[in-house]
Symmetry: C2
DNA sequence: TTGCATACATGCAGCCTGTATGTTAATTAA
DNA sequence: TTAATTAACATACAGGCTGCATGTATGCAA
């Protein structure tokens, strides 16, 4: 009589590794978090970790991906679908600034992520989650004729960078009103 | 009869450590560069390194600072003082994109730098070099009435972020024309 | 039920960082 | 000038961490 199927075991173990990894990565950063500490937090051994992930970096990538998905979900939830295109952009932007301030999300997704995984890998993750939302918003606005026609990918990247940087500025004591004034002015300047 | 004064020794040793560190940091990144390899490249021992720098991170910080200064100098040289404010911004921006593509400068200054040293420390360095140029350009443009009045610091940070991100996009195969189209449109949109 | 694969745990080897200690040469004091 | 001191390194060591290799027990499939 079996207590647990292998599939269940794997699932819960992976979940606990991800949770423990997330907790430590956001609070202490990637470099200062050791695998012994991660598995201790998860009440496991390093054997389990290296059974489920090829290396520490792979666990980190999984954590980043999960977190990016969570951020994207929280934002989509915060933007009512009734808004016009430009308002949706601004509302989504403000939601992003708010959502990204939680815990060490900024360090995880904006500092360690690009450095550890590389910008190319990070782009893939962003494109699958956060940036996708932004691009769709921009595309809708351009199609509605509210924005000047511009290369969509480049525009997405540029605006995304501004919002990311605003998040970091806010964390380091920047003024929200100032940041939003600039972001708003840039978007306004791009309207037709 | 002395062959070398202590001051000279220190100076050349520090210079060689910085040079070796730079070469390795830009080509392999911070995490994958060990101090044994650095000192071997510099034909020294780890004793010398730890005599001149408290730790590996401090050497890295010194390398970053030196490189940031070099970038700033190259840009100022590329922008003729005869240009009007907005043209100077665009010219300087293009110079920045070009200058930052050398070697692994982007990784050093845009990826590893913020992650290893933290955004706050990195801001200090930027403010002393690259961002200073940008801020002065923006201030001049605003004072000349060419740009809408906006919080200067926030605007500097936002535009700087766009240019930084454009650099990374170009390295990963992005199209220069697209990037410049967006950057130009944003700046145009901020004109009065 | 019997053989294999899965899901781990344990133990090991190599590397790296930071520090403590030694040694030589330059600088200062007497 | 010479003795004492300090600076500039080199060498040796301790601790920790990563990745892999090996061991073990349990689910699973034939």
């Amino acid at each position: 009589m079996q207590r647990k199927t292998n599939r269940e075991r794997t699932e819960t173990t992976r979940a606990r590794l991800l949770e423990a990894g997330r907790a430590l990565f956001v609070s202490k950063g990637y470099a200062d978090t050791g695998t012994p500490e991660i598995v201790a937090t998860a009440d496991l051994t390093r054997g389990a970790l290296y059974h489920h992930f090829p290396d520490k970096q792979a666990l980190f990538a999984a954590v980043v991906e999960t977190e990016a998905a969570a951020v994207a979900a929280e934002i989509e939830q915060a933007v009512p679908m009734t808004l016009d295109a430009v308002s949706a952009l601004l509302t989504g932007g403000e939601a992003y600034l708010s959502v990204m301030q939680q815990q060490g999300r900024a360090r995880l997704l904006l500092l360690d992520g690009p450095s550890v995984l590389g910008r190319a890998r990070m782009d893939e993750i962003d494109d699958a989650h956060g940036n996708r939302t932004l691009r769709e918003g921009l595309e809708a606005a351009m199609n509605a004729g509210a924005l000047k026609p511009l290369p969509l990918d480049a525009l997405t990247v540029a605006l995304g960078a501004m919002f990311d940087r605003a998040v970091l500025a806010l964390i380091d004591g920047g003024d929200l009103r100032d940041q939003m004034a600039v972001l708003g002015a840039v978007i306004k300047g791009l309207q037709k």
